[in-house]
């Protein structure tokens, strides 16, 4: 299997006042193509710090990071920007859509920074990405005309549009209720089944069961890294709705 992400002995140290905070303290793992990895851990364990480095938004203090065969340590700022633009799709907890900008324009945004994509192709790919998240009918809606779940799906479409080698999600269901979380996880599972590689930060254990592998952090160390039996989010959603109906009766 092809390695998408390889990190070796990764350290990230923040200097706060006169003290060093070791947010990441020697992390090593590999993510292969087609994996759906959940990154777990208590608050402050270093999940976001790790994801920022995987997303090339931040650089490690030491250690090696190779994404899709490219050694990130050797790249300058502009090259990192291009790398993010071509290889990575981000999904944030708070969606981060541009206000007063249509869903379609939001999804097109990453391709605006890619000179190789023409205006026509940009639009076509954005429409296709919105279709993939089942929001083709909301293309011209503004974020404030969409529900939280729909906004997150627009954000996922934006993460898909550049056909990245990996999708990085930081607490992508953190702002959503259980039902909508399951819907979003169903969508992620759908993308995963189509071959997408996904790294998904969460601190909710039941969300993690929808992935194929869990990496658990504590104080900047990997304390657990195991393959798990993937549960179906669609089934969980159906059961959840049944329970709701039962309690309603």
């Amino acid at each position: 299997m092809k390695e998408i992400i390889e990190i070796k002995d990764l350290h990230r140290t923040f200097r706060v006042g006169s003290e060093d905070v070791h947010a990441l303290d020697g992390i090593t793992f590999t993510i292969y193509e087609g994996e759906f990895v959940s990154i777990m851990g208590t608050s402050g364990s270093g999940k976001s710090t790790l994801l920022n480095i995987l997303g090339c938004l931040d650089t490690p203090t030491s250690g090696e990071y190779i994404i899709n065969g490219i050694s990130v340590n050797l790249l300058n700022k502009n090259q990192l920007s291009t790398l993010r633009n071509r290889q990575i799709g981000f999904v944030f907890q708070n969606y981060n859509l541009l206000a007063r900008t249509t869903a379609l324009d939001n999804v097109q945004l990453p391709l605006m920074y890619n000179h190789e994509v023409s205006a026509k192709e940009r639009r076509e790919r954005a429409v296709a990405a919105l279709e993939a998240v089942k929001l083709a009918d909301r293309m011209n809606h503004m974020p404030n005309q969409l529900s939280g779940g729909q906004q997150q799906r627009v954000a996922i479409a934006r993460a898909l549009v550049n056909d990245p080698v990996i999708i990085l999600a930081d607490e992508a269901t953190g702002n959503l209720d259980t039902r909508t979380s399951y819907e979003i996880m169903t969508l992620f599972q759908d993308l995963h089944s189509k071959g997408k590689t996904i790294a998904f930060v969460t601190h909710e254990p039941d969300i993690a069961t929808f992935t194929t592998r869990t990496i658990k952090l504590r104080d900047g160390h990997v304390v657990l890294d195991e393959k798990i039996d993937q549960q179906s989010a669609a089934v969980a959603l159906a059961e959840y709705e049944k329970n709701i109906q039962n309690t309603a009766i």
């Binding site: 700022k77 920007s81 944030f92």
Partner: protein
């Protein structure tokens, strides 16, 4: 990100805050409009002065007795009697570049016709005076050498005099008016010439043979000297040569030795005009500088609002960087916003400036409408430069943001 998209994003962003964008532009609008107006005003006034002044005469050269100084006290030029008949004759006969020469001898007298009277300034001149000063005859004739020889009691009057004396619409030509105690026959009327650019009415004039003034008017009685000599050069280009020639002749007439100063002043029309325009020039420059300061204030307004915009949109900047915008892309995005802001402001300013110049010059002052294309072009460039200069630091601040920090910004 290509230019077209940058411009689109910038305009969208500006339209989202229409009121704020407009208020920001206001500084630039006022600045540019006043620069355009000041430049137009300056140019127009120069043209106006030039136009009126050139009506004073053709290739005219004025010669007057030098102011005489005694112990540092200016005695005025009336106390010197350095220009006389001999000078006049030698200038008439011994010059090559001088077309006409006429002396002037002034006297003032109350003009009376019927029940009307008007304080008149009588100017004793030679017939060629009207050619030198570009007067046209409206009616009748100018007096001749013949009248000059006979000390004839004839005069040629200007329109202002006509208006004041002949209030019942009588034909002035052929009438006799009284100048002080001397009855004079009006033989001609001058066409109107208006002001001369120095606030003098060129139509309030009574031209009389200079010999008549010298002999028949008490105030000038017995005087053989002239107040001034007016000459005209054969061609405009020859004005300097003519002036040199005149200087040479007068110096030798007056027996002035080499190294000694002239006892007369000689001015060509061009020299006087240059001296007059230089005042307007300085004034225009001063006003334009003040207007330019308001442009700087406008620029500071843009800078201020761009800082606000960058802070407001920190999260957006973080997101754009996360999905692949380079620092350069962010820099250009905000720079294009400030440049577009100031260019639109400039455009509106230019329109207002031209409009206001038109109202002021054409409708209020009745001066020639001069719109300087140079000023418009430069205004446009200055606006672009203002946008870049004052937008640079805010845009740089945006471009230097750390995407992680920016994304977390609330």
């Amino acid at each position: 990100m290509n230019i077209l998209n940058l411009v689109k994003i910038a305009i969208t962003a500006l339209l989202r805050n229409k009121g704020r964008s407009f208020l920001t532009m206001l500084g630039i609008i006022i600045g540019i409009a006043s620069v355009i107006m000041m430049v137009s005003l300056g140019r127009s006034s120069t043209q106006n002065v030039r136009g009126e002044f050139s009506s004073m005469g053709s290739n005219m050269i004025m010669i007057m007795p030098a102011r005489q100084m005694r112990g540092g006290v200016n005695m005025g030029n009336s106390s010197s009697k350095s220009l006389d008949m001999k000078d006049l004759k030698s200038l008439e006969n011994n010059t090559k570049y001088v077309a006409h020469v006429s002396p002037t001898v002034g006297s003032s007298a109350q003009l009376v016709f019927g029940a009307n009277n008007h304080p008149g300034s009588l100017t004793g001149v030679a017939p060629c005076y009207i050619d030198i000063r570009k007067y046209e005859m409206a009616e009748g004739i100018m007096f001749t050498e013949e009248h000059l020889k006979r000390y004839a009691k004839v005069c040629v009057i200007g329109q202002t005099v006509v208006e004041n004396l002949f209030t019942n619409g009588e034909d002035p030509v052929g009438q006799t008016i009284r100048c002080g105690s001397v009855p004079m026959k009006v033989i001609g009327v001058l066409a109107s010439k208006g002001g001369n650019g120095m606030g003098q009415d060129q139509d309030d004039i009574v031209l009389v043979p200079y010999t008549t003034i010298q002999t028949r008017f008490a105030s000038a009685n017995g005087r053989t000297s002239f107040n001034m000599l007016f000459a005209s050069a054969t061609r405009e280009e020859d004005s300097e040569l003519a002036a040199t020639e005149i200087t040479y002749i007068l110096r030798s007439n007056h027996g002035i030795k080499e190294g000694q100063e002239d006892d007369f002043d000689i001015r060509t029309q061009e020299e006087i005009l240059t001296a007059m325009s230089s005042v307007t020039k300085v004034l225009t420059m001063l006003l334009t500088a003040i207007a330019a300061i308001s442009l700087i204030v406008g620029g500071i307004g843009i800078m201020n609002i761009m800082y606000v915009t960058v802070t407001e949109r920190t999260k957006e900047i973080g997101l754009r960087m996360a999905i692949g915008a380079k620092s350069k892309d962010v820099l250009l995005q905000f720079l294009s916003e400030s440049v577009i802001l100031s260019l639109i402001g400039g455009l509106i300013g230019i329109i207002f400036g031209v409009l206001l110049s038109y109202v002021l010059l054409s409708l209020v002052l009745h001066w020639p409408m001069v719109i300087s294309q140079g000023a418009i072009g430069i205004s446009f460039l200055v606006c672009a430069a203002t946008g870049v200069f004052f937008g640079w630091y805010p845009a740089k601040k945006a471009a230097n943001l750390d995407p992680i920090v920016a994304l977390r910004y609330e």
